[in-house]
């Protein structure tokens, strides 16, 4: 279990390092693509200095990636173990 968790974090960092240099280009091309036509939509950025995310919500690439690397993956390990143990030891009927 420790092996999966530690290596999974390394792989996450590798994936983050691969995409990170490209996100400024993506934000300029597609950052506002989901806004409604004519509406004052939000344009997603790699790092948005004006971003004031709601609790637990990212809002730009760096915040979203930080959430995965520092919150999701570290928290997921014990929850995953509980899930698997529940399958292996189902409650008595």
């Amino acid at each position: 279990m420790n092996g999966l968790s530690l290596r999974s974090l390394q792989i996450f960092q590798e994936a983050r390092d691969e995409i990170s240099p490209l996100m400024s280009l993506e934000s300029a091309r597609w950052g506002d693509a989901a806004s409604e036509p004519g509406a004052a939509g939000y344009s997603y950025r790699k790092a948005d200095p004006g971003n004031t995310p709601n609790a637990g919500v990212g809002g730009d690439f760096l915040n979203a990636a930080d959430f995965l690397g520092t919150e999701y993956l570290p928290q997921r390990k014990p929850l995953f173990r509980t899930t698997i143990e529940g399958f292996l030891n189902p409650p008595a009927q």
Binding site: L4, I11, I19, R29, A64
Partner: protein
Amino acid sequence: MTRSYLFTEDLLGTAALGIEPTDHQVKPANSPGLVRTSSSGNPSGILDYEMDPEIIAAEKAEMIAGLTSAPTLAITLPVESFFGVVDGICANSSLSNNDSLDPLGLEWRRLASFDPTMENSDTQENGEITISGGVSRNYRYNSKHNFRLIFNARNSVLGKNDWLMPAAPFSSSLPRMFKQLQLRNSTQDRWTIRDLNASPKSTVASGYTNRRDRAAYIREAWARKVFREMNPLPPPALNGVDLEGGAEPEGNLIAHRRWIHVFINGLYWGIYDMTERVGEDFARTYLDRGEDYDVFKSDGSGTITNVDGSIAQWNTLLTICSTAGFSTSDTTAWEEVLKILDLDSYLDYLIVNFYMNNRDWGSNGTILKVVWPCIVASRIIPSINLHFSDDLMTTMSIFPEFSP
């Protein structure tokens, strides 16, 4: 045949990167160009092809570095074939013919020139391009569509052979042959998905909230690499003989991928996850090139469709799994399952899905959970491998209400 030359220092601030697309790039004759659609389906204005000048001004140096940190693929085709109201694949992207392998239909493949710039590889190829995907093809949800590139098209007038990349486009040292490649914009983990029940930067509320706020473009890359590393496979072979002279094992069978920049008719179209398309040629590339393989996949409803070969072996597996499931004390029944199913690979598949807390996944009523995988089965030595094809994106709390 076309050749494209990209000069990174000159790209930003010019029409080449789409700040002011020229009419010949985006407007077929007598057409206004692609019409933008609201989430309610109402047409409103013209699609935005521009690069945001404010972001360019603020991050120009990083953009130039980013252009050279990943390969490029320049795609050239008649503007009518892409943007045309009558014949264009973009303008007609949401059409459906109920063919899970070619959702837009064979008649919506368009001839194109593909001009890659990769490590030691700049071989231009002709082929066909179409739009792939499910709900992502609808402009109400998403305007950055997935593409599929076809080099051995079933209805090609070119009679092309497979595309042989002279250098390794992914990770292996051997040149690879591709009949098809996918340019993926995995819909959920992206800024381009439109949430019909949420406004941008929405607060966490009941129902689906804004998944764009948690888009990191990382989920699929992470899952594919974790899965590959969990269970080393032997290196590619030909009739049992190692082709790579003792190269490191590839790992669990799964499509390779990498980020590339895509230009369409000189217009910057963004970053795409270039991914192998799984079929018999894929299985031969990474397993044994002298062997025949059945490849099948499930669609959104859980129906299994054959990509290559037949699904007979899959149906056999389901039958014996059902038998084994109803007789848990009968080890003979389970031994029959293990004669067909690659159990290690299957358990890895389950582990990664549970670890990611995949929300776009479920049970089809058997003891095998198979909603989205592709399955590769050897015809000679029965061995069914489940691996991920698409849709590892509704994971890792992409919706804020789905906690870890």
